[in-house]
Structures are given as structure tokens and as C-alpha cells.
């Protein structure tokens, strides 16, 4: 446990939500938006500030798919495997991403914390299937080859950042 953890980010978020228990999901979402995951230090802190048990906060954080207790990569690549994308062959695209980045079904994030690859059920852009999302940008009509060139581009961006 890190004793020097800076809680000012959490304080600001808690303040904006009026320290309401009801808002715990929104609070966790905003904390995750900041850190790209939920650092373990925030659980005891939120428990005290929201006056709810750590177990309950943890139960919420582990129930919802979007929360991550592990640090995520700078680029989070979400491959849509909704029905429309699936029937237009989204799985080979997922495999290509994993192959390019040395990831697998059990390992989602690269060791340098550059990339995270995960699947989602539907991004709501079914008309352009198969689609993927990198952070907040949607890429449409993907193919495995497009995936490879996208990774090259992102790797360059990462190196130059």
C-alpha cells in the first residue's frame, strides 16, 4: 500500500457528487477515467468518505465490466464482437491485434502499458461493421490488415509521445 497516494483527484470527484452513496458508480467511473483503472488505494478512502463498507464498493467495482483493477494501456483497443460485427468476421481482427501485440485471451495489456486489447458486445455502429474503438475513436469496416497498419501508426505515436 502506498502511503503517499495523492487523494486530491478523488476528493474533487467526491465533492462534485456530494459524497452520496448512490453516486458510487459515477464516482468510480470518474476515478477510472483519471487513472485508467481503479487503484487499490481508493477503496479504503472511498469507504471512509462515503460511509459504506469497502466490500460493497468492491462488489460494485467487480460486478461491472467497465471497471478494471489492473492498470490499462495508454491505448485501449475495444474490438466489437456484437452480432453484426461477428457475422462480418470480427474475430480474425481480434486475433490480428493480439498477434501484433503479443497478447492473448488471458493477457490483455502489454508489459509497457502501451496497449490493452479487449472485446465489447456492441458499440452501436453496426452499420459499419466490423468496428473497433481506440480510446474514444471509432474505426469502421476493419480488416486484419487494417488492424496491422493501425498498430504500426499507434506504436509510432506512442514512441513520439
Amino acid at each position: 500500500m502506498n502511503n503517499n497516494f495523492d487523494f486530491s483527484v478523488a476528493d474533487k470527484i467526491l465533492d462534485a457528487h456530494g459524497y452520496k452513496q448512490q453516486a458510487v458508480i459515477a464516482i468510480l467511473q470518474e476515478i477510472q477515467e483519471h487513472y485508467r483503472y481503479l487503484p487499490q488505494e481508493v477503496f479504503p478512502y472511498l469507504s471512509e468518505k462515503l460511509d459504506m463498507s469497502e466490500a460493497r464498493i468492491y462488489s460494485v467495482a467487480t460486478f461491472y465490466e467497465n471497471f478494471s483493477l489492473e492498470p490499462k494501456g495508454k491505448y485501449v483497443i475495444k474490438i466489437c464482437d456484437g452480432t453484426a460485427c461477428h457475422v462480418r468476421h470480427s474475430l480474425p481482427i481480434l486475433e490480428r491485434f493480439r498477434e501484433e501485440l503479443g497478447l492473448s485471451a488471458d493477457k490483455h495489456t502489454t508489459d509497457d502499458l502501451g496497449f490493452t486489447v479487449e472485446t465489447v458486445s456492441c458499440l452501436g455502429a453496426c452499420g459499419l461493421a466490423p468496428v473497433i474503438m481506440v480510446n474514444d475513436d471509432v474505426y469502421s469496416a476493419m480488416t486484419p490488415d487494417k488492424a496491422s497498419s493501425l498498430i504500426q501508426k499507434l506504436k509510432e505515436e506512442l514512441a513520439n509521445a
Partner: protein
């Protein structure tokens, strides 16, 4: 801040005049699909180019003294996502498709300054070219009521919504009708829940209205989690005020003073537009305390989901808003009695609320004239899959699948053959060729074991394996099962195991019967709608495509040729030149042979990865 009805009416008159005075409008589609295609860059580029030419540009509805400004706006989804990014040019009504950044200059020069049509950008279907939106078969065969303004008005502008008559239903409900009269009108219209079940909305409202509790809630279910459906996301992002107006009217009718919109996390665009819309409505006094100077107050909040499909279920959704795990609970008591924070709650879906202002304004009789007798009105569908025209459509209830797939959807892609359509997502069922002339409405579909669900239509061709589709859906529901009740938690897991075995070529005699037995148990014993409907895709694929299951199990063969593990890859000795390229590509050394003589594949080693297929320069490697 508007203090009275007459102030809103005066404002509407002013905005309507300004709206009518606009001589030139450029409408850039800012739906999820077109934004992904770069439509926002096109918007910025057009704005830049117009200013460079010294033309005056307006981006929100302004009272323009000269009426010569070019009005550039971002609208919601136009529906025809397949050929986006889309740009509509008014007053001509021209639709430009697949617009690229490099086309902007030409559009400004030729069309806006020169008034000339650019043929290259027009919509082409088959051998026809269509200049106008209204001529294109995709649009011509639809009936837009709920989506009427979606794709036409500026999604970020309350002024435009008011200009086209928005919030006049609210006025009518607030100043001319009693809560009983509003509820009666909705009941009479027989508006049925668009979220899937088709429960009459008016009955829910009545149940909530009758209870004497000071605190009641109106909740909008925008947790559109069905893979392959994006109607609600498009409505929230394209015409947010219509849905908000519907929610306020529900508040008046039931005596609720607070509302929540639960939006799924994957719709950032919809959340942003809803936030803007709520802020604008608050600023005008349409939301908040003493709306338009009346006694009625209504506050609206947004609650963002965090990625749990089960939260589309009513009691799980309210638990999630309360900041808990999204576990469903046993019903009754119903949400209408013990809903959000244990208070009586009206819970309807986005599309249902979006229908409300129209019914209040035009009357129940008007609404009853659309659609079928027992399922009045229209339904929005997300049309996707292996079809020519994908996109968002709206048709009267009772429209047949054939009309949707072949007239609006333009038929199958790449000349493939129609095999089935999955309706209602993972809770729904598949319909086949024999159902093509079935009218789509709540009751007819129920009769054939399917449901409208939230309205996703995924069209599949003859290359789609139905067992694999069943596995896909079971994988989804198994992942999303919340784990509270045993039948769903364990049952879906076992069903998935069996299906995985079958598609891997390891199916056993008796698997089909076991699947049927498990399905029957889960349907009858699961706690919530997710579990109860989880076996539907399996039940319907076994019913309609039993022979495909049998081929997988007994002949170890996939009739559609889609299941990787059942593929047989062989080298045609006539075409093979013995170059050994394939053998070098093979990751498991399954290919061997002598140079310059035909090679062979050892099927006991082959993992069917397909690497060799791409490696062969002579196309000698084939799949069977």
C-alpha cells in the same frame, strides 16, 4: 427563463419564422457511424471553406435579419449508415454520400456557390442514381414518425426542436389536460413498450398514478445492450428533446417530480447530447421548478451504465442507479409499486417515451391508425448483417420481413442467399425463409416463438452456420449472466459447453436432446428476463435448423462451411507445383512433400488455421 405558456408560444413563433427563413442548409450527419467515418472533420472543413469565401455561416438557429447565412448543422443519425458520411443539402434535398474531406472544396464551389449537383457523390443503388433523399428506395419505403426529425434538426439545438413544434405536447399536457386524461390518452393509444416485452405503457402509468406516495420516479431505459441494436442510442443522440419531453409528460401524468435516464456506457455521444439537452431545457425553464410558471416541477438526471447487459432488466437497472450491483430481484412486487429507491416508478424505454409527445399532440386515434390493430404505431429497427443497406429504419408495425430486407435493405450482400434473420438479439429467435411474409408485430412474433426485443435485425446469409450463431449468443448471455440464480448461472454455462463441443466437431449423440432439456429448465426457472430468454436462440435454431446440428454431430461436417475446426483443407494435385511455400508457412508442420511434386496435408496434424491458403501462389489449396 420562460414563465408562462404564452412566452414559450411566442418563442416558438419566432424560432419557426427563423427556421423557415433559412434559404440554404447543409446537414452533416453526426450519428455514431458517420462520426466514425470522419463527418466532424468534414463539418469543420466546410465551415472553414465557407468563411474563407466570405460567406456568412450560422451554426445554431439565429434570427437572421438578412436570411442569407448558410446554415451548417450537425444532425443525428440519418439512418443510412452504410453509405456515410452523409451530407444533405437543402432546399434541394440532395443527399451526398461517402463524402470525403477532399470533396469539401468541390462541394462549396460547385454546389453551394454554383448551385450545381455533383453526380459522383449521389446515392447509387444498383444501376440507378438518386439525387434526392426522398427518392432513394431505402428511405421511400419507410414511415418516419419517431425518427421524423432525427437527421433533420440540429441535435444540439433546443431552438430547432422548438421551431419544429417541440414541447407543444408538453404545453398541452401541462395546461389543457389532467393527469387522468393524459394517462387515458396513452392507454387508449395502446402504446406498447418498445423495449421488447410490449407491455402497454398506459397501464404502467395508471398503476403509478393511482398510488398516493409523495415521491415517485420516471426512469428511461437507455441501456440498449443487445448486440446488433442501436436505435435507442440514435434517438438519444439525434433527437434528445423528444424523449425528454415524453419523460416530463410521464411525470405530469403520474405525479413524479424526478426522472433518471440510464444510458449505457458505450454511448458517449448520446450522453453528451443528453447533457446538453438537459442544460438547455433547464435554462429555458422547461425542466426544473415550476415548469413554464405552472405548479409542476420535474428534475432530470443522467445515470451512466458501467457495462452490464443485465441492467437492461428493470429491477437490475434501478439497483444500478441506486449505486448497487445490478442484480435483478424476484417480481412481484412490480417496478410500478416498488421501483427506484423503493418508490413507485414508471420505467419505459427510449423509443416508448419518444412516441409520447406525438400521441398527446395528435391524439390516440391518429396513433391507432398506424400499424396493426393490436400493435399500433411504428417500430425502429437496426438493420445489419449481410445485407446491402445497413442502417437505422422505422416502419409501421406489421410490415413484413420481406419488405424490410428486400425493399428497404436492398437484398443480400454479394448476391448471397438469404438464410435467416436474428430478431431481438440474444433474447430473441431466428426467423427463416418461411417467415418472410409474416407481419412483424408483438403478438405474431410471439406466436412463432420470437420477439421484437429492442429491435435489432441481423440478416444472415447461407455462409452463416446456425450452430455457431447459437454458440455466439450463448457465449454472450453466459458472460452477462449476473450469477444470482442457479438456472441461469449454471445452465447457460453447460449449454455453452455443449455448443462449443458441437462446433469443434466433438458433438455426441444425445447433445441436441440435452440442450432442449436444459433450455426448458432455464426458461421455466430463471429469475429474470435475461435468464428466461437466454435459451431462445438455441430453441429456435434447433427448431428451424435441426439438420445443421445433426450434420455437426453425426457427420462432423459444417453445412455452411463456417466452423473452422470442421473444415477440411486439401491440396489439389493438379494445381500444386511443389514449391513448398505452404509447408514453410504451416505452424504445425502438417504439410509435406517433395519439391516439384504435389504436396499433401496431414489432417491429423492440421489445425485449420488457414495460413497455407494465403501462402499458395497457385491457388492449389482448397477448403471443403
Amino acid at each position: 427563463m420562460l414563465k408562462s405558456r404564452s412566452e414559450l408560444s411566442a418563442l416558438r413563433e419566432e424560432y419557426a419564422k427563423a427556421y423557415a427563413a433559412q434559404s440554404r442548409r447543409l446537414i452533416v450527419c453526426a450519428g455514431t457511424g458517420c462520426v466514425a467515418g470522419g463527418s466532424m472533420k468534414i463539418y469543420d472543413r466546410l465551415k472553414e471553406l465557407l468563411s474563407e469565401r466570405g460567406l456568412s455561416v450560422a451554426v445554431d438557429l439565429e434570427v437572421d435579419p438578412h436570411g442569407d447565412a448558410i446554415y451548417l448543422k450537425k444532425s443525428g443519425c440519418h439512418g443510412y449508415c452504410e453509405i456515410g458520411p452523409l451530407l444533405r443539402i437543402d432546399p434541394e434535398g440532395w443527399l451526398y454520400t461517402k463524402v470525403q474531406l477532399s470533396d469539401c472544396e468541390e462541394i462549396v464551389e460547385k454546389t453551394i456557390i454554383g448551385g450545381e449537383h455533383i453526380d459522383r457523390l449521389a446515392c447509387k443503388c444498383g444501376c440507378n442514381t438518386y439525387k434526392k433523399n426522398s427518392d432513394i428506395p431505402f428511405y421511400k419505403n419507410q414511415t418516419h414518425i419517431v425518427l421524423d426529425q432525427c437527421g433533420t434538426i440540429n441535435a444540439d439545438s433546443i431552438r430547432e426542436y422548438i421551431a419544429v413544434g417541440g414541447y407543444s405536447a408538453l404545453e398541452k399536457a401541462l395546461f389543457e389536460m389532467s393527469p387522468e386524461a393524459i394517462t387515458d390518452e396513452i392507454k387508449k393509444s395502446n402504446l406498447r413498450g418498445r423495449g421488447g416485452g410490449g407491455f402497454p405503457a398506459g397501464r404502467k402509468w395508471e398503476q403509478v398514478r393511482r398510488q398516493n406516495t409523495p415521491q415517485k420516479y420516471v426512469v428511461c431505459n437507455g441501456d440498449e445492450g443487445d448486440p446488433g441494436a442501436f436505435m435507442d442510442g440514435s434517438i438519444m443522440g439525434g433527437d434528445p428533446h423528444r424523449m425528454i419531453e415524453g419523460m416530463i409528460i410521464a411525470g405530469i401524468a403520474t405525479g413524479a417530480s424526478e426522472g433518471y435516464i440510464y444510458v449505457r456506457a458505450e454511448y458517449p455521444l448520446a450522453v453528451e447530447r443528453l447533457r446538453t439537452a438537459i442544460a438547455q431545457a433547464e435554462e429555458l425553464g422547461i425542466l426544473g421548478d415550476n415548469i413554464l410558471g405552472s405548479e409542476f416541477s420535474f428534475k432530470l438526471h443522467i445515470s451512466r451504465g458501467a457495462g452490464a447487459f443485465v441492467c437492461g432488466e428493470g429491477s437490475a437497472l434501478t439497483a444500478s442507479i441506486e449505486g448497487k450491483r445490478g442484480f435483478p430481484r424476484v417480481k412481484p412486487p412490480r417496478t410500478t409499486e416498488h421501483g427506484l429507491f423503493d418508490k413507485p416508478t414508471v420505467l419505459n424505454n427510449v423509443e416508448t417515451f419518444a412516441n409520447v409527445p406525438l400521441i398527446i399532440l395528435n391524439g390516440a386515434d391518429w396513433y391507432l391508425g398506424i400499424g396493426t390493430e393490436k400493435s399500433p404505431g411504428t417500430k425502429a429497427f437496426a438493420l445489419t448483417g449481410n445485407i446491402m443497406n445497413t442502417g437505422l429504419i422505422e416502419v409501421p408495425m406489421g410490415t413484413t420481413l420481406r419488405e424490410i430486407i428486400f425493399d428497404i435493405g436492398g437484398g443480400m450482400r454479394d448476391g448471397a442467399e438469404f438464410k435467416a434473420v436474428q430478431i431481438g438479439g440474444p433474447s430473441g429467435a431466428c426467423l427463416t425463409r418461411e417467415h418472410l411474409d409474416l407481419p412483424l408485430d408483438f403478438d405474431t412474433l410471439k406466436g412463432v416463438g420470437a420477439m421484437i426485443g429492442s429491435g435489432g435485425l441481423v440478416v444472415m446469409d447461407d455462409k452463416t452456420c446456425m450452430v455457431e450463431v447459437a454458440r455466439f449468443f450463448m457465449n454472450f448471455t453466459q458472460n452477462e449472466s449476473c450469477g444470482k440464480c442457479v438456472p441461469c448461472r449454471e445452465g447457460t454455462k453447460r449449454m455453452l459447453e455443449i455448443l462449443e463441443r458441437i462446433v469443434a466437431g466433438e458433438g455426441r449423440d444425445g447433445d441436441i436432446e440435452l440442450l432442449e432439456e436444459l433450455a426448458d429448465t432455464i426458461v421455466n426457472t430463471a429469475l429474470c428476463g435475461l435468464g428466461k430468454s437466454a435459451p431462445n436462440p438455441i430453441i429456435s435454431t434447433i427448431k428451424n435448423f435441426r439438420e445443421e446440428y445433426e450434420a455437426h454431430i453425426y457427420e462432423k461436417r459444417c453445412p455452411a462451411g463456417a466452423c473452422q475446426k470442421l473444415k477440411k483443407i486439401y491440396i489439389d494435385p493438379e494445381l500444386c507445383k511443389g514449391c513448398s511455400k505452404c509447408a514453410r508457412q504451416c505452424p504445425v508442420d502438417a504439410i509435406s512433400g517433395k519439391i516439384k511434386e504435389p504436396f499433401t496435408i496431414d489432417l491429423s496434424k492440421c489445425i485449420r488455421c488457414g495460413s497455407c491458403l494465403g501462402a499458395c501462389p497457385f491457388k492449389a489449396i482448397k477448403e471443403a
